[in-house]
């Protein structure tokens, strides 16, 4: 049987904040959009965060309604837990993507996310969503605000005992599900495949990922999130509430030895944000930030930095040479204090946070035939005036797939990618709508009275 074919104007790859915003900005102009996400839920990295700078809005307050808007927009078809296998250009200039829908082993139509299956399942697994500090079961709803809010089975960690199937009140567990093929035909493609944090174990000087109380900043986001693994800020070695926390800036950025010479541009701000949030949660905790340059360059960001200083967060210009730990697993930071005549000291903290940077998550070269720059992110040859245009006509890039950027910049760029894609569809697409949704006769005149 030939795979099901979906015909749309634009294919958006990646359902993080950038992909969602590009999809919404295209759909709201009247274009048909397919959004393909490889994870079981959309939301990207942003949905893992606690509160977000510079407004300190609760992150779910911004992300979850967008996720919901994507799910309910009649011009967007959402495909989660899907892998795009190949993309070809057809004779008419349109792209066709071959997509595999991975089996969830749960019928997505009938599942109500009651989570009875999850409670019945005997297998506890580290949950990547909680940076492995929390757990999920072999059958699970990805997280409380997931879209779609549906269970799935991690088949590689399942003993096929069938307990879930027995308790499911609507009988939606289906161990026989097979991968499904489908084809998506689109005039334009928007790549919004996002970023990955620098692996914490990359740097031997910082413990190589082996020191339990040296954590990456994404872990702290989970500790701070009300839905986080502990529900409190506790250190992972023993659950102690930390009194003294240190941030190490540029951990994995601006670092030739790791091949990441660039600045990741978000880590100064998130470290400051987390410091403020920790000060709120643990008013007595001492927080020190070891930095080389504080890069709070965005709108309102330097003011944010000044606020943190006034709150008592210590900013210490220093180069951290090494992190070790004592017998109680307290990290010990060896640091050259630049403002104090470059003397080298050792300081003990309860927990150390590595302000990890952003590296490219996905290499699109083989499938999408676009160039990637030396930094691993999608190349934008006309970067000054057309920052979303890639080396391949019809393929555009949105958000942090084009280099480190924060949410504000990702959202702006997502709008720009939507503008580029829309212009391209308008100019070339056989399905181009010539200005968006057409207006029914008389509608223009119609004025509803309130």
């Amino acid at each position: 049987m030939a795979p099901r074919t979906i015909k749309v104007d634009a294919l958006v790859v990646g359902g993080g904040i950038a992909g969602m915003q590009s999809a919404l900005d295209l759909a709201d102009q009247g274009y048909q959009v397919a959004l393909v996400e490889k994870q079981p839920s959309i939301g990207g990295k942003m949905i893992e965060l606690s509160k977000v700078f510079p407004t300190l809005d609760c992150c779910s307050c911004i992300t979850t309604p967008k996720m919901s808007a994507v799910a309910h927009n009649s011009n967007i078809q959402l495909f989660t837990y899907c892998d795009i296998q190949s993309v070809d250009k057809q004779g008419d200039g349109r792209f066709v993507a071959q997509v595999i829908q991975k089996p969830r082993y749960v019928d997505i139509e009938t599942c109500t996310a009651c989570r009875q299956c999850e409670y019945a399942c005997p297998i506890d697994l580290p949950h990547p969503f909680d940076q492995n500090l929390g757990v999920h079961r072999a059958i699970y709803v990805p997280f409380s605000t997931a879209v779609p809010q549906k269970a799935l089975i991690d088949i590689d960690n399942c003993i096929l005992c069938g307990k879930c199937e027995r308790v499911c009140p609507v009988g939606c567990v289906d161990f026989t599900q097979q991968p499904e093929e489908l084809a998506i035909e689109a005039t334009a493609i928007v790549l919004a495949t996002g970023f990955e944090i620098t692996p914490t174990d990359a740097k031997a000087e910082y413990g190589g990922g082996k020191l339990l109380n040296v954590v990456n900043a994404l872990t702290v986001e989970r500790l701070l999130a009300p839905t986080g693994p502990y529900g409190h800020v506790l250190r992972p070695s023993d659950g102690k509430e930390p009194d003294s926390i240190a941030y190490i800036q540029c951990a994995g950025s601006r670092d030739k030895s790791l091949g990441v010479e660039y600045c990741s541009r978000i880590c100064c701000m998130y470290a400051i944000k987390q410091s403020m949030l920790i000060s709120g949660a643990l008013p007595l905790a001492d927080i020190a930030i070891y930095y080389m340059d504080i890069r709070t360059f965005g709108k309102g960001y330097d003011q944010f930095y000044q606020t943190a200083k006034a709150m008592g967060v210590q900013f210490i210009k220093g180069k951290v040479a090494k992190i070790t730990e004592d017998e109680n697993q307290n990290p010990i930071v060896r640091v050259e204090l630049i403002d104090e005549g470059s003397q080298v000291v050792e300081r003990q903290h309860d927990m150390v946070v590595l302000s990890v940077g952003m590296v490219s998550k996905y290499d699109p070269r083989t499938i999408y035939d676009v160039n990637v720059a030396g930094d691993g992110f999608v190349d934008t040859p006309l970067t000054n005036v057309s920052p979303c245009v890639t080396s391949r006509p019809g393929v555009f890039v949105s958000g942090s797939a084009a280099g480190p950027m924060d949410i504000v910049d990702s959202i702006v760029m997502a709008g720009a990618a939507a503008a580029e894609a829309a212009a391209y569809i308008q100019a070339t697409g056989p399905n181009g709508h010539g200005g968006g949704r057409s207006i029914a006769a008389g509608e223009e005149k119609e004025l509803a009275h309130a």
Binding site: Y119, D124, F175, S237, D238
Partner: protein, 101 residues
């Protein structure tokens, strides 16, 4: 229409054949389950005596405290333990009612 018994039988057979198919991962996961179950048992036993902190459980069981924390976190998520106040810099946990069975 198949009757209920038939259905159960079919399903059991289907699961069995699937287990055969995924033999490697199933066996690996079964080993993990067994390991976790023995840890859980130790933790539950230690906690019989009342609310405890993670280091106290670790001390009582001889398990590494980060592992204890992970399991307590898991048990908390699925309502098997409850958090009850703090002792010094640590939260205390006690077994939830239904954990006694």
């Amino acid at each position: 229409m198949t009757d209920k018994k038939e259905d159960t039988k079919n399903r059991a057979a289907m699961l069995k054949s699937l287990r055969e198919k995924h033999k490697e991962t199933v066996e690996k996961t079964q080993a993990l389950l067994k390991h976790n179950q023995s840890i859980r048992k130790q933790i539950r036993q230690a906690m019989q005596s009342g609310p405890m902190t993670v280091p106290e459980v670790a001390e009582a069981t001889g398990l590494p405290s980060d592992r204890v924390l992970w399991h307590v976190t898991a048990m908390k998520k699925y309502d098997l333990v409850r958090e009850v106040g703090m002792s010094g810099e640590y939260y205390q946990y006690e077994l939830a009612q239904k954990e006694n069975q």
